[in-house]
C-alpha cells in the first residue's frame, strides 16, 4: 500500500494542438451552458445557434487541417489516438452533426418545458409562451464531443468515459420531443436503462481485460495477448463483455432491441443525429478495440461476428417488413445496415486487406450517414395534426401531393436499397468487395439476400408514395425552414454525387485507412 503511495509521479503532458477539434467542441458546449446561465431567455437561441454551428464548422476545419498536416500520433500520453481513421471519422461526424444541428434548429421539435407534465396547465402555458429548451444545443455539442472521443480513444478507460459522454446527453435529448411526449419519455427511459446496462458490461469487460493485461491501454493489451501469459479465462470473458457493450451501441442483434423504440420515440432531429453520428462513432470504437487490442485473436472472435452479422442482417431485414411506422422502419433498416457493415469487420487478414476493409467501412458509414439524415429530415417535413405523420398509411400518395419531396425520399430509399447510381450501391460494394477478398463470401451472399429482402420494404414505401392514391385529409407537407431545406438538399446531393463519382471520397477513406490504427 504505502510502497504504492510513494511512487514518484512525473507530471504528464497533453498535446492540446492535436486534440484541438474535440477541445473546441467541448469548449463551445461549456460556453453554451454559460449562455444558458447568464443570458435572458429571448437572446439564448440567437446566441446558441451560432456558437454551436461555428464551433462545429471550426472543429471540422481543424480536423481537415490536421489531416493535411498528416497528423498521426497518440496524444495525451497515448490515451487518444489521432490517426487516419480517427480524423476521417471526426470529419464525418462533424459534417453530419452540422447537418443534424440544422434540423435541431428547426422549431417545434422540442418540448417547451421538459418538467411540465404532459397535458397539464403549465405545459399549455409554456407552449403559449413559445418557450423552448435551448439547453438542447449544449447537450448536442457534448454528445458530438463524446462521439469524437469514442472512436479516437486508445485505451479502454477513455473509451468508457467517452461512451458515457456521448450517451448521457442523448438519453436526455431522447425525452424532449414536443409531440407524443409519453412515447418520447419512454424512449428516453428505455434507452437510458438499456444503455447503462450495456455500458456496465463494457466496464466489467474492461476490468477483466485490465486484470489480464495489467493495463487498459489497447496496445499493451495487444502485446500481452501476443505474449499470452495465463489468465485466459479472464481474457475471454472480458472480450465477450466488451463485445456486448460495443455491439449494443452499434445496435447489432441480439442487442438491437432498443433501436426501434428509441428511434421512434425521440425527436426526429435527434434520431437523425443518433442514426448517423452514434453509429459512426460506435463503429470506429468497435474496430479499434477488435482490430487493435484483439487483433492477434481474430480467429477467436471472428466466428462470433459471423453469427452476429448474419443475425443482425436477417433480423433487421425481416422485422422491418412488418413495420407500419416510418421511423421504426428506418430504425430496423439501420439495424440491417449495421449488419452489412459488420460483414466487412470480419474480413481481416493482411495489412493491405485490413486497410481495404477499413476504407470500405468508412465510405459506407459516410454514405449511409448522409442518406439517413436526409431521410429523417424528410420525415420531419411530413406533418400531421399530431406532429409528424409517423404511420405509413399516412404517406400514401405522397408522390401526388408533393412529387419533389416524395422523389427525394424515394432517392434515399433507393440508396438504402443499394441501387446503382446512388451512394448506397458503392457503399455496399465497398464493404462486400473486401469481405469477399477476406474470404467471407458466405457472409456476402447472406448480405445480398438480406439486402434483397430489405429492398422489398423500401420499395413498398415507394409503392405507397407513388402508386397508391392519396389518403383523404392526408398529412400536410410543412413548408421547410431554411435549415431543413438545406439538409434535404445537401443529403440528396451527397447521395447522388457519392453514387456517381465516389472516387474522391473513396480516395480519402482509403488514404485514411492506409495507416490503419496507431497503436
Amino acid at each position: 500500500m504505502s510502497l504504492l503511495a510513494f511512487e514518484p509521479i512525473t507530471s504528464p503532458t497533453i498535446e492540446y494542438g492535436t486534440l484541438s477539434p474535440m477541445l473546441l467542441v467541448f469548449g463551445a458546449a461549456i460556453a453554451g451552458v454559460l449562455v444558458e446561465a447568464f443570458t435572458p431567455r429571448y437572446l439564448r437561441k440567437s446566441l446558441q445557434m451560432p456558437i454551436t454551428l461555428l464551433s462545429l464548422i471550426g472543429a471540422f476545419a481543424l480536423t481537415v487541417w490536421q489531416g493535411t498536416q498528416g497528423v498521426r500520433e497518440a496524444a495525451a500520453m497515448g490515451a487518444v489516438a489521432v490517426d487516419g481513421p480517427s480524423l476521417f471519422i471526426w470529419g464525418a461526424i462533424l459534417l453530419l452533426a452540422i447537418v443534424s444541428v440544422l434540423l435541431v434548429n428547426d422549431d417545434d421539435h422540442f418540448v417547451a418545458q421538459a418538467s411540465a407534465v404532459p397535458g397539464s396547465a403549465e405545459e399549455d402555458q409554456a407552449l403559449s409562451q413559445g418557450g423552448a429548451h435551448t439547453e438542447i444545443y449544449p447537450l448536442v455539442l457534448f454528445a458530438v464531443g463524446g462521439m469524437m472521443l469514442f472512436p479516437a480513444s486508445n485505451d479502454l478507460l477513455i473509451m468508457f468515459v467517452a461512451l458515457e459522454v456521448m450517451s448521457l446527453p442523448l438519453y436526455l435529448l431522447c425525452g424532449l420531443a414536443r409531440r407524443r411526449r409519453l412515447l418520447s419519455q419512454e424512449a428516453a427511459m428505455k434507452y437510458f436503462l438499456l444503455g447503462a446496462f450495456s455500458s456496465a458490461f463494457f466496464l466489467y469487460g474492461t476490468a477483466l481485460l485490465y486484470g489480464f493485461a495489467g493495463s487498459v491501454d489497447l496496445g499493451a493489451i495487444e502485446q500481452m495477448i501476443g505474449t499470452h501469459l495465463g489468465q485466459d479465462n479472464l481474457l475471454y470473458i472480458g472480450i465477450a463483455m466488451l463485445g456486448v457493450g460495443l455491439l449494443f451501441k452499434i445496435g447489432a442483434a441480439p442487442f438491437q432491441a432498443w433501436k426501434p423504440d428509441v428511434y421512434q420515440g425521440s425527436p426526429t432531429p435527434i434520431t437523425a443525429l443518433m442514426a448517423s453520428g452514434t453509429l459512426i462513432a460506435a463503429f470506429g470504437a468497435l474496430l479499434r478495440v477488435f482490430w487493435v487490442a484483439l487483433g492477434n485473436l481474430d480467429e477467436m472472435w471472428q466466428p462470433v461476428f459471423w453469427a452476429v452479422a448474419i443475425l443482425t442482417m436477417v433480423i433487421g431485414a425481416i422485422l422491418a417488413i412488418t413495420q407500419t411506422d416510418i421511423k421504426r422502419m428506418l430504425a430496423y433498416s439501420s439495424i440491417a445496415h449495421t449488419g452489412f457493415l459488420l460483414v466487412a469487420v470480419v474480413a481481416t487478414g493482411s495489412l493491405k486487406q485490413n486497410a481495404a476493409a477499413l476504407g470500405g467501412i468508412l465510405f459506407y458509414l459516410v454514405a449511409y450517414g448522409f442518406a439517413t439524415v436526409g431521410a429523417f429530415a424528410v420525415v420531419t417535413m411530413v406533418r400531421d395534426a399530431g406532429g409528424e405523420a409517423g404511420h405509413l398509411s399516412r404517406w400514401a400518395g405522397l408522390g401526388k401531393r408533393s412529387p419533389a419531396l416524395a422523389g427525394i425520399f424515394a432517392l434515399f430509399l433507393l440508396a438504402f436499397a443499394g441501387i446503382p447510381l446512388t451512394s448506397g450501391f458503392f457503399g455496399k460494394y465497398a464493404v462486400f468487395a473486401p469481405a469477399v477478398a477476406g474470404g467471407a463470401t458466405g457472409l456476402v451472399i447472406v448480405g445480398v439476400v438480406t439486402s434483397a429482402m430489405a429492398a422489398f420494404f423500401y420499395v413498398r414505401v415507394i409503392v405507397l408514395m407513388f402508386f397508391s392514391d392519396p389518403a383523404p385529409e392526408g398529412p400536410t407537407i410543412a413548408v421547410p425552414s431554411m435549415g431543413t431545406a438545406a439538409v434535404v438538399a445537401l443529403s440528396a446531393a451527397a447521395t447522388v454525387v457519392l453514387g456517381v463519382f465516389p472516387q474522391p471520397v473513396l480516395d480519402l477513406a482509403h488514404s485514411a485507412a492506409q495507416s490503419l490504427f496507431v497503436r
Binding site: V449, A455, F467, Q503
Partner: protein, 509 residues
C-alpha cells in the same frame, strides 16, 4: 468521335428537357420526346453506317477511368451483337413513343404525362449503355439502374394490378442482380487483374470450380432477366399490367439484356463452366419453349398470352446461345432482334385493341376483321411472324437456331419443333377467336387504325417482312461477332484469348 457517349447523352439531356416542360403542356413534352428519339435513331444509323463488320471486333470503343480504386472504367464499345441490339432499341423507342401518345392520359389514375415520356428517354439511354458497356461493373450498374425507370413506368402507368406487378418485377430482377453482384465482386477478386474491363477478364478465371460458381452467379441474374423457365413468373404479370409501350420495351429490349449477357459474359468469361452447364440450360430452355407455348394456349388475356409466347421464344434464344454452334449463335442473336419487332408489333396492336374496347380479355372480342380490317390484317402479320412463318424475319432466326441445335442436340431440337407447332395453335386460335367469326356486339363500330397508329405499325411490319426476305445485312454484322465469341468459348482454358484481348486494348481505332 465518341458515338456511344453521344447516343447515351442525347436521350438523358432530352429527358431533362422533357421533365422541365411546364406541367400543363403535355403535347410539347410528347413532341419533344419523339424528336429526341428520332434524333437518337438518326445518330445510331449514322454510327451503324460507319461500323465495319470485317473490322476489329469492338468498335467505337471509349475507355475512361471511372473509379480507379475499384478498377472500374467507363468503357463502351460495340461489336455486331451489341450494335444490332442497340439498333433494335432505338428503333423501337420512337415507335413506342408514338404508339403510347395517349396512354399516359388514358391510364386510370391521372399521372403527369411528361414524367412518362422522360422515363422512356432515360430508359433508352440506359438500354444503349447496357448493350455498349464493355466493363463488367459498368454493365452491372446499367443492368440494375434500368430497373428503376421501368419500375416506375409499370407502377404508375400500368393496369389494375400495376403496383403488385411492378414490385414483383423489381424484386425478381433485384434479387438476380444482387447475386450477380456477388459474382462480379468475386470475379474481380479471383481474376486479380485490378480491372473490370471485360476483354481483359476473358480467360482470367481458370479454376473450374470457381468458374462454375461465378457462372451461376451471372447466369441466374440473366435467366431471371430473360425469363427462362423457371424464373419467368414475373414476366406475365409485368407485361400484362404494363402499358403497351412499356410492355414493348420490357419484352422487346430489356429482356434481351439477359440473353445478351449470357452470350457476352457467361460464355466469354466462363467458357468451361458454360460447356459444363450447357445440357442443363438446354433442358431448361426446351422446357421453357414447350411450357410457354402450352400455357399461352390456355390464356384468356391477350397480353398475358403474348407474354407467354415470348417466354417460349426466349427458350429458343437461350437454346441457340448455349448450343455453342455458329449458326445457333447468330440465329439466337438475330432472334433477339426479330422477336423484338414481332412481339413489339403484337403488344402495340393489343394495346390499340384494348384502347378501343377497354378490355384485354380475348373473350370480349370477335369478328374484328369485319369492322377493322387493317387492324386485323396487321395483327395477323404480327402473329404469323410470332409463329415464325417462312418469309417473315423470325423464321430465319428460328431456322438458324434449330439448324445449329440439331448439329449437337437432336432431341431438344425435335422437342423445340413441337414448340413451333404449338405456336401455330395459340396464335391462330387467338386470331380466330378475336378477329374471325361473327362480329360481337361490343366491337361493333370499333374504329379502324387511325393515321398515327398506321405510322406506328407500318415500320414494324416492313421490318418483319424485309428482314424475312433479306436478313443478310444483319447477319453480316452479327456473324463475325458470334464466331469470335464462340472461338473464345472453344479456346482451351489454359491459353486465355490473348489475341482477342490484345487487339481490343486502347480506345477505339
Amino acid at each position: 468521335m465518341p458515338w456511344l457517349s453521344i447516343l447515351m447523352g442525347v436521350p438523358v439531356v432530352g429527358a431533362l428537357a422533357v421533365a422541365a416542360v411546364p406541367k400543363g403542356n403535355a403535347k410539347l413534352a410528347k413532341q419533344l420526346t419523339l424528336a429526341v428519339s428520332l434524333v437518337v435513331l438518326a445518330l445510331t444509323l449514322a454510327m451503324a453506317s460507319q461500323f465495319d463488320p470485317s473490322g476489329a471486333r469492338q468498335q467505337f470503343s471509349e475507355v475512361h477511368q471511372w473509379i480507379p480504386s475499384f478498377g472500374v472504367h467507363y468503357a463502351v464499345a460495340v461489336d455486331g451483337i451489341a450494335l444490332v441490339l442497340i439498333a433494335l432499341a432505338v428503333v423501337l423507342v420512337p415507335i413506342v413513343v408514338l404508339a403510347s401518345w395517349h396512354d399516359a392520359e388514358r391510364s386510370d389514375a391521372k399521372r403527369s404525362v411528361k414524367t412518362y415520356f422522360a422515363l422512356i428517354l432515360v430508359l433508352e439511354a440506359m438500354m444503349i449503355g447496357v448493350f455498349a458497356a464493355t466493363d463488367v461493373f459498368l454493365f452491372y450498374v446499367f443492368f440494375e439502374a434500368m430497373l428503376i425507370p421501368m419500375y416506375f413506368m409499370i407502377g404508375s402507368y400500368g393496369g389494375a394490378q400495376r403496383s403488385y406487378a411492378a414490385v414483383k418485377f423489381l424484386l425478381y430482377s433485384l434479387f438476380g442482380g444482387l447475386l450477380m453482384l456477388v459474382a462480379v465482386i468475386a470475379l474481380y477478386h479471383v481474376a486479380a487483374k485490378g480491372t473490370f474491363l471485360q476483354p481483359e477478364l476473358i480467360g482470367a478465371v481458370t479454376d473450374p470450380a470457381t468458374q462454375k460458381w461465378l457462372f451461376l452467379g451471372f447466369f441466374i441474374a440473366f435467366a431471371v432477366k430473360a425469363p427462362l423457365w423457371p424464373f419467368h413468373t414475373w414476366l406475365p404479370d409485368a407485361a400484362a399490367q404494363a402499358p403497351a409501350g412499356a410492355a414493348v420495351l420490357l419484352v422487346g429490349v430489356l429482356d434481351k439484356v439477359g440473353t445478351y449477357g449470357m452470350l457476352r459474359f457467361c460464355l466469354e468469361l466462363f467458357p468451361d463452366a458454360a460447356k459444363f452447364f450447357t445440357p442443363v440450360i438446354i433442358a431448361l430452355s426446351v422446357i421453357g419453349i414447350v411450357y410457354g407455348a402450352v400455357v399461352a394456349i390456355g390464356q384468356t388475356d391477350m397480353k398475358r398470352l403474348i407474354a407467354y409466347t415470348s417466354i417460349s421464344h426466349f427458350g429458343f434464344i437461350t437454346m441457340g446461345v448455349f448450343a455453342l454452334t455458329a449458326d445457333a449463335g447468330s440465329g439466337a442473336t438475330l432472334y433477339m432482334v426479330n422477336h423484338g419487332f414481332s412481339t413489339g408489333a403484337l403488344f402495340l396492336l393489343a394495346g390499340f385493341l384494348i384502347n378501343r374496347r377497354g378490355s384485354q380479355y380475348i373473350a370480349d372480342y370477335g369478328g374484328v376483321q369485319k369492322v377493322a380490317p387493317v387492324l386485323a390484317g396487321t395483327f395477323l402479320v404480327a402473329g404469323l411472324s410470332s409463329l415464325s412463318l417462312p418469309g417473315l424475319s423470325t423464321f430465319v432466326s428460328e431456322f438458324l437456331v434449330l439448324i445449329g441445335t440439331f448439329e449437337r442436340y437432336v432431341v431438344p431440337g425435335v422437342i423445340a419443333l413441337a414448340g413451333m407447332v404449338l405456336a401455330a395453335v395459340y396464335i391462330l386460335w387467338m386470331y380466330q377467336r378475336m378477329m374471325g367469326g361473327p362480329t360481337a356486339e361490343s366491337v361493333r363500330g370499333m374504329p379502324d387504325l387511325n393515321l398515327r397508329e398506321k405510322i406506328v405499325i407500318a415500320p414494324l411490319i416492313a421490318l418483319l417482312i424485309g428482314f424475312g426476305f433479306f436478313p443478310k445485312p444483319l447477319l453480316d454484322v452479327i456473324n463475325p461477332a458470334v464466331k469470335h465469341t464462340l472461338t473464345s468459348v472453344q479456346a482451351p482454358q489454359f491459353t486465355p484469348a490473348i489475341p482477342a484481348a490484345a487487339d481490343q486494348k486502347g480506345p477505339g481505332e
